[in-house]
């Protein structure tokens, strides 16, 4: 570290500690938001998809903060940021096209043609039926 004064360029940018702590607090706060949102029952409020939207939105914000401040992208050459954003665009293209396709061909799939799934579902239903038939003591142990 003693040589850092002489070779300033080699060390790179140093983020002030206040900023790091602030970022950390912001991330913790956003984690709290995620947890809080998870506990809300949006189905009751007739906003079924709100849960996932808020959770993903918070995740995107957190991700951006980490990349910008912890990963130093804010102070780095803009090319690095370009690469970072660019790779997300490619992920978007990949997932986007694939989901578009599977939602398009979904109606052509013959329904119920998943024998193994059916077997497992049947077994699950049978065991649940057996469970509910047995004593409530048993039930309580399972739900813990």
């Amino acid at each position: 570290m003693s040589s850092s004064n002489h070779e300033h360029g080699a060390v790179g940018h140093i983020v002030p500690i206040k900023m790091l702590v602030g970022t950390c607090l912001a991330l913790l706060f956003l984690t709290g938001v995620t947890v809080w949102v998870a506990k809300l029952d949006f189905v009751e409020l007739r906003m079924d998809e709100m849960n996932i939207l808020v959770a993903m939105g918070v995740a995107v914000v957190k991700c951006t903060i980490v990349a910008m401040i912890f990963m130093h992208l804010r102070w780095d050459r803009s090319f690095v940021g370009f690469v970072f954003v660019g790779s997300f665009i490619f992920v978007g293209i990949f997932i986007g096209f694939t989901l578009l396709d599977s939602s398009e061909y979904q109606p052509t799939i013959i329904p119920g043609d998943t024998p193994q799934v059916q077997l497992k579902l049947d077994a699950l239903n049978a065991s649940m039926a057996a469970d509910s038939a047995s004593s409530g003591e048993h039930d309580g142990a399972a739900s813990q």
Binding site: F94, L100, D101
Partner: protein
């Protein structure tokens, strides 16, 4: 500067990278990009021999309708291993890792790549991946085809047991490829010499750069895909298995999102080599430099949005079929830009009919056939007829072997004097090229006929009365001719090491920096990073009879050099 500074590095017989240090460990633990490149070259050629043997087995089997030498299961293994080895072990690493490693830092006038240790690690990952791949033969066999399509590959009762070792091998090879790509991107960004702006780089560097971008962006998806496949096969978690509610078409999306760009990992470096070959051996300034450079980048970008053209008959939805078909056609634009620029470069050039140039011209010829037949496969209506026939086999061999591999072989002939310091027998090289070229077209042009007449791919036998046998016989004879040509190459390359004439620093008349250091280069490539000018301006060079190479004209200054009076 005092005296005549013309030869930048004095040729020496004793101090070069080959003899710099001695002993096994000095190679096994080397960080020298040139030695790593050479080790890659030997390994890739060894894998090429192995993949080639499987190819000859496949061709021999098809000489007679009922199959000559194998049963169906063995045949399935033969074509799977041929494909897997040739794609993952040979073509993908061939030009970037073997030739690129050797040439790229020297072209930049640098001492090495940006991360030499990562480079060595990449090589050993290749070796480990290769061991896994070969182990899959003994660990139960591999008969899925190189694409590992689900649901067959995840069905423990039908697909052979080598799937997981092979998939692990391909996963590790993927990392090897990513490391090479990373290294080259950083090297090109950080280590360019004075005077070499982006648009003064040799075109080989542009193509390697575009390739590296694809390697870094696409290969992780292959890793994820293969990891999911292994988990699915081992534990049956229901991602790809339809009986568990999974989606086998999803596997094809995953697989081709990597494997279509992988086609460009193979072809782009070869295009870069051809740009060098055509310009240097025509002794004429490359035509349309920036168009060729940008077309490499455009091809790299397009390569990510066309993968669905492999899935037109898979159950992919009509909407997505149409979109992918349309985008696929647009790849023709940058490809054609390159071809026209190469032809324009040759036009009125002073063409030297050297072996590398023959491969360069062979590339243009075969690539045009490979590219144009791709249009039939990109067209939705004709693809229904041609899908999974020998037409597809012929098409991708014209692109992967006739173009990607021929570019690699051309580059090998071009840089061999630089790598080894010896000239091979030029006439033997020309004869081998002619034999290869005729054999190649006999092998694969007939397969277009076979395919359009309905011969499906991956079949060990065929009906005797379908009229296929004549084509198969011609095709097999052609493959034997190619085998002879490759053994000829091995013979004259190896004999050149021991008996070849010493190569001049610049035997072909190239202007990029690798032709300014000695052949073979010294350990450090250059004592100080040289300045560069226009690397396609060949008017500053003249032929020197005494050294049998090209030298700087006495009346022209080197870049960065004050008039030396």
């Amino acid at each position: 500067m005092t005296g005549d500074p013309r030869p930048l590095e004095q040729p020496t017989l004793t101090d070069n990278y080959l003899t710099y240090t001695r002993g096994f460990l000095s190679w096994a633990l080397t960080l020298d990009h040139k030695r790593i490149g050479l080790m890659y070259l030997c390994s890739v050629l060894l894998a090429f021999l192995l993949g080639g043997i499987f190819a000859l087995l496949v061709r021999t089997q098809l000489l007679v309708p009922e199959g000559l030498i194998m049963d169906q299961d063995d045949y399935n293994q033969a074509f799977t291993l041929h494909g897997g080895i040739m794609v993952f072990l040979v073509i993908i690493p061939s030009t970037p890792a073997a030739l690129g490693n050797f040439v790229l830092p020297i072209m930049l006038g640098a001492k090495d790549v940006a991360f030499p240790r990562l480079n060595l690690m990449s090589y050993y990952l290749w070796v480990i991946g290769a061991i896994f791949m070969v182990y899959s033969i003994f660990g139960g066999g591999l008969d899925t085809g190189w694409t590992f399509y689900t649901p067959y590959s995840i069905d423990q009762n039908s697909a052979m047991g080598g799937v997981i070792p092979a998939v692990t091998g391909a996963f590790i090879l993927g990392f090897s490829s990513i490391f090479t790509g990373m290294n080259f991107i950083v090297t090109i960004h950080r280590l360019r010499p004075k005077g070499m702006t982006w648009f003064r780089m040799p075109l080989f560097l542009w193509s390697i750069y575009a390739t590296a971008v694809i390697q870094v962006l696409a290969t992780p998806v292959l890793g994820i895909t293969l990891a999911l496949l292994a988990v699915e096969r081992a534990f049956g978690i229901g991602i790809f298995d339809p009986t568990l509610g999974g989606d086998p078409v999803l596997y094809q999306h995953f697989f081709w999102f990597y494997s279509h760009p992988a086609v460009y990992i193979m072809i782009l470096p070869a295009m870069g080599i051809v740009s060098e070959l055509i310009a240097v051996h025509s002794h004429r300034h490359i035509f349309g430099y920036s168009f060729i450079a940008w077309s490499s980048v455009a091809i790299a970008m397009f390569s990510f949005i066309v993968w669905g053209h492999h899935m037109f008959t898979s159950g992919q939805s009509p909407l997505v079929n149409v979109v992918f078909s349309f985008i696929t056609f647009s790849v023709a634009i940058p490809s054609a830009v390159k071809v026209f620029n190469w032809l324009a470069t040759m036009y009125k050039g002073a063409i030297s009919w050297n072996t590398p140039m023959l491969y360069g011209m062979g590339f243009i010829f075969l690539f045009v056939i490979g590219g144009l037949t791709g249009l039939y496969l990109g067209t939705l209506s004709t693809d229904i007829h041609l899908h999974d026939t020998y037409f597809v086999v012929a098409h991708f061999h014209y692109v992967m072997m006739g173009s990607a591999l021929i570019g690699f072989i051309g580059g090998l002939h071009h840089w061999w004097p630089k790598m080894i310091g010896k000239m091979y027998n030029e006439n033997a090289g020309r004869v081998a090229f002619v034999l290869f070229f005729i054999g190649y077209n006999m092998t694969f042009f007939t397969q277009f006929m076979l395919g359009s007449h309905g011969m499906p791919r991956r079949y060990a036998t065929y009906p005797a009365d379908a009229g296929f046998q004549m084509y198969h016989i011609i095709s097999t004879i052609g493959s034997y001719m190619m085998a002879i040509a490759f053994f000829m190459m091995a013979a004259y390359f190896i004999s050149s090491i021991f008996g070849g004439r010493r190569a001049a620093a610049n035997p072909w008349g190239g202007r990029s920096l690798e032709w300014q250091c000695t052949s073979p280069p010294p350990h450090d490539n250059f004592s100080e990073q040289p300045e560069v000018g226009d690397c396609y301006d060949f008017s500053v060079l003249r032929w020197d009879e005494a050294t049998q190479g090209y030298v700087w004209r006495e009346d022209v200054d080197r870049p960065g050099e004050k008039s030396h009076a």
